[in-house]
């Protein structure tokens, strides 16, 4: 802390700036959370009284928990995110180990490619994957009896494949930051104690990386769960939650959107604070 060397006035002004900033930061989430309980059929203010209709309603007002389309989108998002973050984590771990060990001439080149999704705009990744998948799909349809429509045309599997492409980069960076601190002699020690390469991986490297693996899994889940820019080009008849909500916002806005927003805001906030209170980092 450099507190001793700054004036009272500086401290006060920084404090005011920060206070305003955090007010601004939480304002929209706060507004939506309140409106989720508004007893009115419109989206905004005035506040007409408290209701839980937008959560539990099943008659005229269909609440989140009775909105089959919304629940399905939520379910698809969770399914997608679980699958994407698990597969990405697997690839990312292999990548980290590869970049750690390999002596190939192409290593640096491969590394730059592997982090490139972080700076490629998501829209471009989306259209690139769509074009490529379609090309392969057409090729097989035209030249063989194989129909890969289920996997390579817009739909659940293409979303999964597409999201893996960039979620892996994020997972890789998270795992790598811990791998960098790994003491390589631990590995040699295990080898010297007659562990096989696989046993080294299983008993030494993976347990060592475990905290970062969990972190990468969670981060991957959240990135996949909330992705829009890439997914919008890959989605088919099963929209993920953001895609579904986007079409709701555009074409069919009801306060149910406030309610599901509130639920997600609440879940994330609760999780963040639990992590803050009980997490080590």
């Amino acid at each position: 802390m450099i507190n001793g060397l700054v004036s009272k006035r500086y401290q006060a002004s920084v404090f005011v700036f920060t206070a305003f900033f955090f007010l601004f930061w939480l304002l929209p989430l706060f507004v939506i959370s309140i409106l989720a309980f508004n007893n009115a059929d419109y989206i905004g203010f005035p506040f007409k009284g408290f209701t839980l209709d937008w959560f539990f309603g099943s008659g005229n007002r269909v609440g989140v928990f009775h909105d089959a389309d919304l629940l399905q989108a939520l379910f698809i998002s969770i399914k997608t995110a679980l699958l994407v973050s698990a597969v990405s984590l697997f690839i990312a771990t292999a990548a980290v180990l590869y970049f750690e060990k390999a002596k190939s001439r192409f290593k640096d080149f491969l590394y730059y490619l592997s982090v490139s999704p972080l700076i490629i705009p998501g829209v471009i990744l989306g259209i690139a994957l769509l074009t490529f998948a379609t090309t392969i799909l057409y090729f097989f349809q035209d030249h063989s009896s194989i129909d890969l429509s289920d996997y390579l045309s817009p739909g659940f599997w293409l979303v999964v494949i597409g999201q893996i492409s960039f979620v892996t980069s994020y997972s890789m960076l998270i795992v790598q930051s811990q791998m960098k601190k790994f003491d390589k002699t631990l590995e040699e020690a295990a080898l010297s104690l007659k562990a096989s390469r696989f046993e080294v991986l299983r008993y030494i490297v993976v347990p060592y990386l475990k905290p970062s693996l969990i972190k990468a899994f969670l981060a991957g889940f959240l990135i996949s769960f909330s992705n829009f820019n890439t997914t919008v080009f890959l989605v088919g008849s099963d929209p993920t939650l953001p895609i579904y909500l986007f079409s709701q916002v555009k074409y069919n806005l009801t306060p149910v959107v406030n309610a599901i927003s509130f639920l997600i805001i609440f879940t994330i906030t609760a999780f963040a604070f639990l992590n803050f209170l009980f997490g080590k980092e």
């Binding site: 698990a86 074409y251 069919n252 806005l253």
Partner: protein, 354 residues
């Protein structure tokens, strides 16, 4: 660690199992417009046939895009507008010809069925029809009655529209063109659209906002800030019920008439189910549920028996004989025109509002 790995693995397997379970049941995947399949009808259909509906909401453009990417796969049934089918079916081969023998023709208004067959080139069955015109707040804009009022300085700051092709077509009619006659004359069509676009760019500052959804249409009209906006008849009539000042108006130079249809994608995996669904939806008593809900005109023959009285009155109120004859029905849209329009729309969107 072993436990962690095995837990991870079993988690993944569970996810895969879910995916498979979801695929096991017989499903009909429909891409359609919001509101076209009321919940009541969905449940009824699922109970009657045991086929589960999987509904994706969309619009004409996205419907095409999705089907194009899959070459007519991914969905078992689509509901595009009649004029958007022919070129897509020809160029991208995304629809299969309709087998009209499988349709219960007695349940469909014969003239409408014929018109749909003609416009779509034999790929579609009509579901409903309606018009695009103006939704006007008579309290503030008693004289507004044509597309040209969308750039009438009198209403500056109180105009809203959707930046999509109906706007261009409507304004073209108001400017004295007949865009449908120019469909096959690309250079002329382009000239016309450019003139229309210029008009809209010059008057961009009059616009309060662009709407994207029926909801926004409703909200704008209700707020009292928007006096003249483009809109769909059903929505206008719905608003009229709540606030008599607001109503749907057929523009002097002609309301735009559209027919929304059923068309079966080329790689539909449940063609049988699709026909079943079409016949189900056009049964008068079922079609009436939709009409009572959304206030659009159904293609079903005999639906009137089940439709609420006040809804029946809407159509007559707006469309007297003159207005009815003046409705401009969309003919099949050529691809070249769609491109010209899209570019013009982007130009209008990007233009600074002076």
């Amino acid at each position: 660690m072993k436990r962690f790995l095995s837990r991870l693995l079993s988690g993944m397997l569970m996810v895969l199992a879910f995916v498979n379970v979801a695929n096991a049941q017989q499903v009909l995947r429909i891409i359609t417009w919001k509101g076209y399949i009321p919940k009541e009808l969905q449940e009824k259909f699922e109970k009657e046939t045991g086929i589960k509906l999987k509904i994706t909401y969309s619009n004409n453009e996205e419907m095409l895009a999705k089907l194009r990417a899959t070459r007519g796969g991914g969905f078992d049934l689509a509901q595009p507008s009649a004029d958007r089918i022919l070129f897509a079916a020809k160029k991208y081969k995304i629809y299969q010809p309709m087998d009209y023998t499988k349709i219960e023709a007695k349940n469909i208004k014969p003239t409408l069925l014929k018109a749909t067959k003609d416009i779509s080139g034999g790929y579609a069955v009509p579901y409903c029809f309606g018009t695009t015109g103006l939704i006007v707040n008579k309290k503030y804009a008693p004289d507004a009655n044509d597309w040209s009022d969308l750039y009438n300085p009198k209403y500056a700051g109180h105009i809203a529209y959707r930046l999509k092709r109906p706007l261009l077509i409507g304004v073209a009619f108001a400017m004295g063109y007949n865009p449908f006659k120019l469909y096959n004359n690309t250079p002329e069509y382009k000239k016309m659209i450019n003139n229309v676009a210029q008009k809209l760019i010059d008057t961009k500052s009059y616009v309060y906002a662009y709407w994207n959804s029926g909801d926004q249409q409703r909200e704008f009209a209700k707020s009292g800030k928007v006096w003249v906006e483009t809109g769909w008849d059903g929505i206008g009539w719905n608003l009229h019920k709540e606030n008599p000042d607001i109503d749907f108006i057929a523009p002097k130079s002609g309301a735009l008439g559209w027919i929304d249809t059923f068309a079966i994608p080329k790689r539909s995996k449940n063609v049988e189910g699709a026909y079943k669904f079409i016949n189900f939806m056009l049964k008068p008593e079922n079609a009436a549920v939709f009409v009572n809900h959304e206030r659009y005109q159904s293609g079903s023959n005999g639906v009137e028996k089940y439709v609420k009285k006040e809804i029946k009155a809407d159509w007559g109120r707006t469309f007297d004989k003159k207005n009815l004859e003046n409705i401009k029905w969309y003919p099949a849209l050529p691809a070249a025109c769609a491109k010209i329009e899209a570019e013009a729309l982007e130009r209008i969107k990007a233009a600074a509002s002076r």
